[in-house]
């Protein structure tokens, strides 16, 4: 029983990546390239599944209808870049080796990097349960990362790119400033030190998690009901986070997949109903610019954020 997606990645590796690496004399990148092939294949499937489910949903009960939905296209680029393209490669190269290095250093000092399986030995071999527990921990970490990115001026300057979209769709999940992505990598790199279970081992679970994240941005009137909304984050719940009036540090509903952290830490708001999205405090390029115009506008806002201490508008 071999996974067809793994076989696809293996085929890519054997017939495209390895011959190319061999040609240019970079065979020492072999392991990294295989990791990337796996990421890319699984990422492509995530995109296709998300597309296949979310598009009919958005057609069925859209929150908003736009005469010109041109601003959506840039989000498609963000999605492909981060799920299939270059960003997984960067993560892999930058953090894989760094992680081995740091955990190895800890083991040298006699510190065994703590793992859940170490604390609860019965988890060893129970990879699915372990991964679910880790996914919950990571979701909590994501809540705090996201919440803090709304608190600090410089961080909000970057994250506001994500909020600038007025035509929010299921493609919008991955629209982030590159520096913001970088911070996320470091953030999760540290947490992954303690965790280290490769998400590649659980492609189906990762697919579900990432699907829920995309779905939560979808332009669809969809709530999971009173109880359901309190178990998993629905499009209705996350839309409230993206509301115009909620931009900056007045926001609510910071969670990514589980609403539990918002409920626990007092930031949940289940009352806001299908609001308009966007961030009026940012320049227009953040919303409707091309990919690079958005990145540059985010960078300008980031630099400005260190200058002025006044004008906390939109924070």
């Amino acid at each position: 029983m071999v996974d067809p997606l793994d076989i696809t990645a293996g085929w890519l590796e054997e017939h495209l990546l390895i011959p190319a690496l061999y040609q240019v004399g970079l065979m020492n990148w072999e392991d990294v390239s295989y990791g990337w092939a796996l990421f890319a294949v699984y990422g492509a499937v995530q995109v296709v599944v998300t597309f296949a489910v979310c598009l009919p949903l958005e057609r069925w009960r859209p929150v908003e209808r736009w005469p010109d939905s041109g601003a959506v296209w840039v989000d498609v680029i963000y999605t492909v870049l981060s799920r299939v393209g270059i960003l997984p490669l960067v993560t892999y190269v930058m953090f894989y080796r760094a992680q081995v290095f740091v955990t190895g250093w800890m083991a040298d000092q006699g510190l065994v990097p703590p793992t859940l399986e170490g604390v609860f030995p019965f988890l060893l071999g129970q990879q699915v349960i372990t991964f679910v527990l880790y996914a919950i921990i990571l979701d909590c970490a994501e809540y705090w990362r996201h919440r803090l990115s709304h608190q600090f001026r410089w961080w909000w300057a970057l994250h506001s790119l994500h909020h600038a979209q007025r035509q929010m769709t299921f493609w919008s999940d991955d629209r982030n400033h590159l520096l913001d992505d970088l911070i996320s990598f470091v953030w999760f790199g540290f947490i992954a030190l303690l965790i280290g279970v490769s998400p590649l081992q659980f492609p189906l679970l990762v697919l579900v998690l990432r699907f829920l994240e995309s779905l939560s941005h979808a332009n669809v009137r969809l709530s999971f009901g009173w109880l359901g909304d309190r178990l998993l984050i629905s499009p209705r719940f996350h839309r409230a986070h993206h509301g115009i009036r909620a931009a900056g540090d007045r926001s609510c509903n910071y969670g990514a997949v589980l609403p539990w952290w918002d409920m626990l830490f007092g930031t949940a708001d289940f009352a806001r109903d299908y609001v308009q999205t966007g961030d009026p405090s940012g320049e227009e390029a953040l919303a409707t610019g091309t990919y690079w115009q958005q990145q540059m506008a985010g960078l300008r806002r980031f630099i400005r954020s260190f200058g002025r201490r006044t004008a906390r508008q939109g924070m």
């Binding site: 029983m1 071999v2 996974d3 793994d6 076989i7 990645a9 293996g10 085929w11 590796e13 054997e14 390895i18 011959p19 061999y22 004399g25 065979m27 020492n28 072999e30 295989y34 796996l38 080796r97 992680q99 081995v100 290095f101 955990t103 190895g104 250093w105 800890m106 083991a107 040298d108 065994v112 990097p113 793992t115 399986e117 060893l124 071999g125 990879q127 280290g196 279970v197 490769s198 590649l200 081992q201």
Partner: protein, 322 residues
Amino acid sequence: MRRLTILLFLSFMTLAGLTPAWAGGIAFIVNSGGASISVIDMGTLKEVRRIPALREPHHVALSPDGRSLLVGDTTGNQMMFLDPNTGEVQKRIPITDPYQLGFSPDGKYLTVNGLARNQVDIYDAATMKLIKRFPVVATPSHLAYSPDSSTVFVSLQDSNKLEAFDLRTMTEKWAMPVGKTPAGVLWLNGKVLVADMGTDYIAVVDPADGKVLEHVVTGKGAHQLFMSPDSKVLWVNNRVGGTTVTLDPTTLKVTRRYAIPGGPDDLDFAPNGKIWITRRWAEKVAVLDPATGSYDTIDVGRSPHGLFLNPRAPSPTVVSSR
């Protein structure tokens, strides 16, 4: 009637006793991308179960007393000790980044290459105490000893070098350029052979000073070398070309070429003459019949890397149903 049954039973017992290799045998296949070790029944060529590893196991080595099979888990920073007869986990101990590992022929030392940490660690094989750590320029990947256990040779994958360490004085002897991306290392007739994954040849190196004496072309992405148990055939896996070739160990002439697609990596010899080869990107093991060139295929976990055959072990199918 009963006597007949007993007789029949006894004759089965004798049969089983006469052909231990066919009564069972366990193959351990290390799934580096699946955090597990596949246990294969060598008789049926079926996967019986998977032993969970912590994160990313790669290579194996049998302890000198034959009682433990060591499996290095790199990102897990853990050495697993398995019972080579049953696959039971004997213990797990913390060790930094155990990528490649090998015991010296005299059984005194265990060399552990930390690929990601750029270090070569020499352990006391009996106590597993670290004796010496050699920091190296880049990514130590494979190793081989001189037969007198005085020297260990380590290929440094991301540099172009092979490095030699004197185990008597615990000092570095030399580090010399031997190719583009040095991989597998093997001692052969007073020389050291190094497979070069970045090219299509193996380098023949003088163990005294690391000078390259000649190149032998085997195939694109020459990766790892193995000597058959009877020392009559040298096997080389070519990663990029997807081939396994045999060489005459005295003349170093290629005698035969087999197509093994899917990134052939490690290899082991079964007593029936079959060659077991891990195919990294295909998630399979090939059981090659060298006479015909055809092979059986066993599905295993993701990115199978190291492997170990124990033909004398009882059938794991019986073990697991116990």
